[in-house]
């Protein structure tokens, strides 16, 4: 699981959005000129494509037990076969679907909770801010994996939605903290004051005035949460808390470990799904970092040494 270091640095002041198209164009231009973003987006797009075209790419039915067991990689089986005679390459291709789905859905869910709690804390201020902030910090410090394991075991339902729910519950706090500090820095800006003087309702101000100014941070938080989701789901499935009959990279690792693939001389079975998890995670991490750089120009790599 990635370490996400929390600091209390003041949030960077983002420019006030003039119009919506201008913002999107600016973000697109900034992304295109950022090498990390290009690499990350390309990798992400690659996996999306594989997930969509899985039936075309995979040579065999991923769950059919039709081949000899533990075959080494060969022309017929690019990555060999599993301990129960399934084609590892086909499993890998089809597994992309569930792994990607978990990452995106859990990422979206966690981001939504972050926005809700982080922005309301900053906007409401006073005692509410103190309580919500404390709540966020508590969730930040609690070791999430044991918590996920306990909840997962109690529920005793190894379905996809449970897995996503558990990841959302444990994964929102980091983003909420970042959003709160940025929303705090926006709070007293003139355009918000103007909206208040106009007599706009709080909900309108938050949705149409505050949130558009935090777009790049929210996108960064989504990719950070998606990275967390990829790793958390893989970890939970690896120790057997996922649905063992589902097809995803984490489940493949679970079966590989259960069959002692490493010692049985079938390392590809372990290496391939792990490498996919790492690549998808890296894609999210790169995009997340690129958005941080876009929001905070000071972090960009120096063009030349002074």
């Amino acid at each position: 699981m990635a370490v996400r270091v929390v600091t209390d640095q003041p949030a960077v002041e983002t420019p006030v959005v003039a119009d919506r198209r201008g913002l999107l164009a600016t973000v697109a231009r900034a992304l295109a000129s950022n090498r990390k973003a290009v690499a990350g987006l390309a990798l992400f797009g690659f996996f999306v494509l594989i997930a969509l075209l899985a039936p075309v790419i995979a040579p065999y039915d991923p769950s059919a037990l039709q081949f000899d067991q533990m075959l080494p990689p060969s022309g017929r089986h690019l990555l060999g076969t599993t301990g129960t005679g399934q084609d590892i390459f086909s499993q890998l291709v089809f597994g992309t679907r569930e792994s990607l789905l978990i990452a995106v859905l859990a990422g979206l869910g966690a981001t939504a909770v972050s926005v809700l709690i982080g922005v309301s804390a900053a906007y409401m201020g006073g005692l509410w801010d103190h309580i919500l902030n404390l709540f966020t910090d508590v969730f930040l410090v609690l070791p999430t994996l044991p918590l996920m394991i306990i909840v997962g075991t109690y529920l005793n339902n190894r379905g996809l939605l449970v897995l996503i729910g558990v990841i959302v519950i444990t994964g929102w706090s980091y983003g909420a903290r970042q959003l709160r500090s940025q929303a705090l820095s926006l709070r007293n800006r003139e355009f918000l004051e103007a909206a208040r003087v106009r007599g706009e309702r709080s909900l309108y101000i938050i949705v149409f005035e505050v949130l558009p100014n935090m777009t790049s941070l929210i996108v960064a938080i989504f990719f950070g949460a998606a990275l967390y989701a990829v790793l958390a789901a893989a970890g939970l499935q690896f120790i057997g808390l996922g649905d063992p009959n589902s097809l995803s990279w984490g489940t493949m690792l679970y079966w590989a470990q259960a069959n002692g693939a490493l010692l049985a001389g079938s390392p590809v079975w372990v290496l391939a799904p792990g490498l996919c998890i790492a690549s998808l995670g890296a894609a999210f991490a790169l995009i997340n970092y690129a958005f941080d750089e876009i929001a905070n120009p000071a972090l960009r790599p120096a063009k030349k040494r002074r």
Binding site: M1, R4, V141, L142, A234, L253, L262, L286
Partner: protein, 327 residues
């Protein structure tokens, strides 16, 4: 000392939250783990143990919740965690006592190494903006931080233990020897702990490098750094004593707050290496649906993280005069 008081408040509240979560979870979750345990235990354990299980899992529906809660708190603080199913009839407390030193030793050592090394590398990376370290390290560690801990552990196991045979396949010491304090035994512990520790260091160091670099970039732009340069101080002195020293504090706070993530990863590393710590025990508890053991493990891991956070807070209070000024 208002800073420390505020942090102490946080410590107490988080501890209370974890305790309460532990109390609520079995009561709101579907299924009836407590009843299942009672059936399994029937006639095998003392009436006191039965009572403890009933209290922990809320089987006294006729008692008011508040009374159950108070009794649960009293049991927890007196170390009465119930009996483990996995290691029947060993009390949960004893199992924790066996696993805790291994986890603390492994995770503690690896985390301190990662923090020191990461801070130093982050410092160098920010000092030479665009230099060798800065071009290679941050991007490399963004990618590595995306690797699952356990998978990197499996990879290390494959390369260094199975293929090369340099390190043992797992566990914390040779099972043929018993625990003692000889040099031979200490050597075994280091030799067995090297691969798991290396895995934790590699996956967690990136976070420290990145934050240290980013904070250091901010401090390097401060006036006192310009002043130090103008005075003609040596670059090493400016880097370590002026910019670096001031960038460490936020990093230390971040370090403490991130320990929960590190512990989560370390649990998986222990599972991969069959390391006899709390993480490995947790897996065994999951497999045999040993709820009492699972919940106590969660509590113990939380307490371990919280104590580390508090230690970092005290250290911050000692190092940063600003925390002492505000009365």
């Amino acid at each position: 000392m208002s800073y420390l008081v505020r942090r102490l408040e946080f410590f107490v509240i988080t501890l209370w939250a974890a305790l309460t979560l532990n109390f609520i979870l079995p009561r709101v979750m579907p299924g009836d783990p407590g009843q299942a345990m009672l059936v399994r235990y029937h006639g095998r354990v003392s009436p006191e143990t039965i009572k403890a299980i009933e209290v922990a899992f809320g089987l006294h529906s006729n008692e008011p919740v508040l009374q159950q809660y108070l009794e649960y708190l009293r049991n927890t603080f007196t170390g009465n965690f119930g009996t483990s199913v996995t290691f029947f009839p060993v009390p949960v407390g004893d199992i924790i006592k066996q696993g805790l030193p291994w986890t603390l030793g492994l995770v503690g050592t690896a985390t301190i190494i990662a923090f020191l090394l990461g801070t130093l590398l982050g410092m160098l990376s920010a000092w030479r903006r665009g230099g060798f370290f800065d071009a290679i390290l941050p991007p490399a560690f963004i990618v590595i931080s995306a690797f699952p801990y356990f998978w990197l552990g499996l990879f290390a196991l494959l390369v260094f233990a199975i293929t090369l045979g340099w390190f043992p396949l797992g566990f914390a010491y040779d099972l043929t020897t018993s625990i003692n304090l000889s040099w031979d035994f200490i050597g075994q512990v280091i030799w067995h702990g090297a691969l798991p520790a290396l895995t934790i260091v590699i996956t967690s160091i990136g976070g420290w490098i990145l934050t240290m670099r980013n904070t250091m970039i901010t401090t390097l732009a401060e006036d006192y750094v310009k002043m130090a340069r103008a005075k003609g101080l040596s670059p090493v002195r400016i880097m370590l004593m002026y910019a670096g020293r001031n960038a460490i504090l936020p990093n230390l706070t971040g370090f403490a707050m991130s320990l929960g993530f590190v512990i989560s990863g370390a649990i998986l590393v222990e599972i991969v290496f069959n390391y006899p710590g709390l993480g490995f025990t947790l897996l065994q508890a999951v497999h045999s649906e040993d709820y009492a053991l699972m919940q106590t493990l969660f509590l113990m891991l939380t307490v371990a993280v919280l104590v580390a956070v508090l230690a970092a807070d005290v250290l911050t209070a000692i190092l940063d005069p600003r925390t002492r000024e505000q009365g």
